[in-house]
Amino acid sequence: MTKQSSPPRPGNGICFSTRGVTKVYGSGPAAVHALRGVDIDLPEGEMVVVLGASGSGKSTFLNIIGGLDTATEGEVVFRGQDISKANQRELTRYRRQHVGFVFQFYNLMPSLTARENVALVTEIADNPLSPEDALALVGLEQRMDHFPAQLSGGEQQRVAIARAVAKQPSVLLCDEPTGALDSKTGIRVLEALKTVNDDLGATTLLITHNASIASIANRVVVFADGKVREVRENTTRKQPQDISW
């Protein structure tokens, strides 16, 4: 993979392009249509905030473009390659090389220290940052040898971000990264995400319920009933420290 040069250039090239993506769980009368034909183009390097009510399909969409799940129908093109037909092995390689994930509940390895949690990823990545640099990026250089049990929620989430970005991913997918955090800690996490997006140029998708976060994005995508209801570009972006909830 090639490292994105910084600063990012929004609109310069397409990172993800999806056409007619549907996802159906189950079959027959019990079938649940999580996605009902999603068509969207997401440019390289942007910070994209995805909004939507519970059940609107935003997490399913994130899982599919992140290679955690596959679409029932439709095309998912990542940098010109269709990943909707990829097998498990190819998806594993795709995640390993290109995708960084951040979840609401951190999902750190409790048995590894902050540094070791990051090293877990850098040991299998092609062109990683050092665990120390990745942790410094999120402001945790003083807490590197602490176990998750010794860290606060916000610190754990920042370790998760450091772990996600240490491989220098092309895309960073965050599902409710601030969902379990208070406002002040949440803003620290958003700052960390913005720094990563600015410095590494990774296309960043951030799912949230919290509409006030939308103002830090280049682009806001709103999901409803398994479809994209609205896409808007922010002409002016706020800094994380300027928002509150």
Binding site: S54, G55, S56, G57, K58, S59, T60, L62, N63, G66, L68, D69, Q88, R89, T92, R93, R95, R96, Q97, V99, F101, F103, Q104, F105, N107, L108, M109, P110, S111, L112, E116, N117, A119, L120, V121, E123, I124, H146, F147, P148, A149, Q150, Q156, R163, K167, D175
Partner: protein, 795 residues
Amino acid sequence: MVGGLLNWLSALDRKLVRDLWRMKAQGLAIALVIAGGVSVHLLAAGMLSSLEETRKAYYERYLFADIWAPAVRAPDALVHDIRAIDGVQAAETRIRMPALFDMETMNEPASGAVISLPDAGEPAVNRLHLVRGRLPSSEQREEIVLLQAFADAHELDLGDTLPATIYGGRSELRIVGIALSPEYVYAIAPGEMVPDDRLFGVAWMGRRALARSVNQDGAFNEAVIRLARGASEAAVIAELDRILDPYGAPGAYGRRDQVSDAFVSSEMEQLETMGSVIPPIFLLVAAFLVNVVIGRMIAVQRAGIGLMKAFGYSSTEVTLHYLKMVGAIAFAGLALGAAAGIWLGRGMAMLYMEYFRFPFLVFDIRLADFALVGGIALAAILGGAAFAVRRAAALNPAEAMTPPPPPDYSRAVGTRLTQSKVFDQQTRMILRQIVRWPWRAGLTVAGVAASGALLIGTMFFTDALDEMIETSFTIANRQDVTVVFAEPRSQSAFFSIARQPGVMAAEPFRAVPARLRHGPAQERISIIGAPLEASLSRLIDEQGRTITPPPGGLVLTADLAAKLGARAGDIIGVEITEGRRPHLEMPIAAIATSYVGSGARMEIGDLNRLMGEGPVVSGAFLTVDPDSTDALYTRLKEAPVVAGVSLQTMAMQRLDELMDESLGTSIFVFVIFAGLIALGVVYNAVRISYAERQRELASLRVLGFSRGDVSYILLGEVAFLTLLALPVGAAAGTGLAWYMASAMSSDMFRLPFIIAPATYGFAAIVVLAITAASSLLVRRQIDRLDMAEALKTGE
């Protein structure tokens, strides 16, 4: 249907049923381990009580003797003196003669005895259980009752005739009855290890008829005595010895030295050992599994427990709920174990009936045994659960409903060790899991080790018996045939045997009954005199080297020396109870190893000199040209001097068969049981680890780790613990084998403590295979791991 049934239950019990259904594989694994322990205990206890009760009833009903008092020839009138001894309830005199039977269906001579029955009425001691036919009439000289096992082996029935050589005379005996005798529950020739129904027979004849043919008119050569309740066996024996001493009595003996009863007793001791050693292993493992599995379930259901308590369920109700769940598993194990125990017990009783000839043997488990094992199993299992359940009951509802904080690894002892740079992160995760929960890891190691130990402790029997056979038959006793003369003969009798066709080598021996004394201990044995350079029947030391007795020296087998509490160099009292009956003080020259039987040994010339006799022999050891055995057997059967023939080769074959039959089956059963333990422990360990780490494993998959990488973390732990368990299991198995070797040894034989390297290897392979199989079962779940679901990213 099930849904309908569920409606009858309270909501909490419905949850219980569904939880049990969800954890059915783990529950079954635990139930099977419990069942293993329960069934082995019930099998052993049931068999033991069945044998005990059957034996007691049989002995009572058929007036089995307490004491046997052999003599050479004593006048009939002595019976009154014997009956007058204080403590004697009943006494009977009789004639017992060694006999050779010439069977049409085989070339080998069958040895055995002919025993007299009173001419009128049934004996007051040692009655026969007539299976069919009648007792011999006093008028008909050749009528006999034949031991059923021998009759069956040769398909003989009422009216058939049986050619026999008794006291040098040939007779055609006619079978008028087929019987069982309490004296021959285990029908085995003296000095043999394994019964062979074809080669050992006993016939009962009218007293007068037998007396006439063996020159014992008005005399007897054995008295059998039943003791009054509370009488002292030793005192009666002393009195009997005093009375019979002038008549060539080698010394009276009790049931302990009666071959058949001694074998039955030794079998019962072995059952007792089996029933008390093996089940605790199973129950401990089951208790541990319950603790871990329930502990895990409570961790998973934490929020649910909080909810239950928030709704107003009390701690007692929560405790009861989980104890019910454990109780259900324990009862399933008990039921399975009871069924398996009864089923195995019935099979074993059938097997026993082939060797132990009781008129009946009903396998029956006493209620008390069910209650005992049920109580112990429940206590062990509920005890195992109690710890985990107490934690559930103590949960504060508010706290329980919030997600648990990540487990703290920073304070685990040994975390420092895992910081070494040589480990990658995955290996580090495996090691930290172990050091964080060392108790659980230790129990997993102990469980797997117990399985390995059980395998080694069981398979050791094959190694021990192989060694026993090797030492007894190919190193110590290398003769093919042992010929015993009716009475001591001159050397010419030996030479006439040595010259027979097919005899390749022959060595004479002299056997003399004696009592050995050392301090308060005393033992009845035969002193065997053999040539100094004996090459057929040899004495060997622990290293398998031949021991040559020094001139005039006496060599004892190790078990005999131990019973006498004597060591090489000690002076012991030797009272010979034949011929001139000299009483001597002799030093023990050396101690020999012998796994089968026990005895004392001297140079034959020295023994002859002690006896004050010329070159007299009691019999001969022979090696035989396999092509000429038939001719030799024919001559032996016809030779009037020969009273008994024992066939070493046949005994060895028979022993091999027996090992394949009964030991093979037992070992197979125990391998299955040991496998159950390993399966229960490993499957649960991996399953629990999987459940606990599902999120971690899913995270790793998300981070781009392949299924193989993720499996390594999950299965690496159990693989590591299994590898750790192998040496522990080997050590524990060695200990178990050592204990079994000493616990299972009896007067008849001693199990050498020897474990072949292949046994360790096999045990390791079984344990590793089961670990691999259990791991693969769980590994399949990794393949199906739903990452999005596990990480709860779904909306």
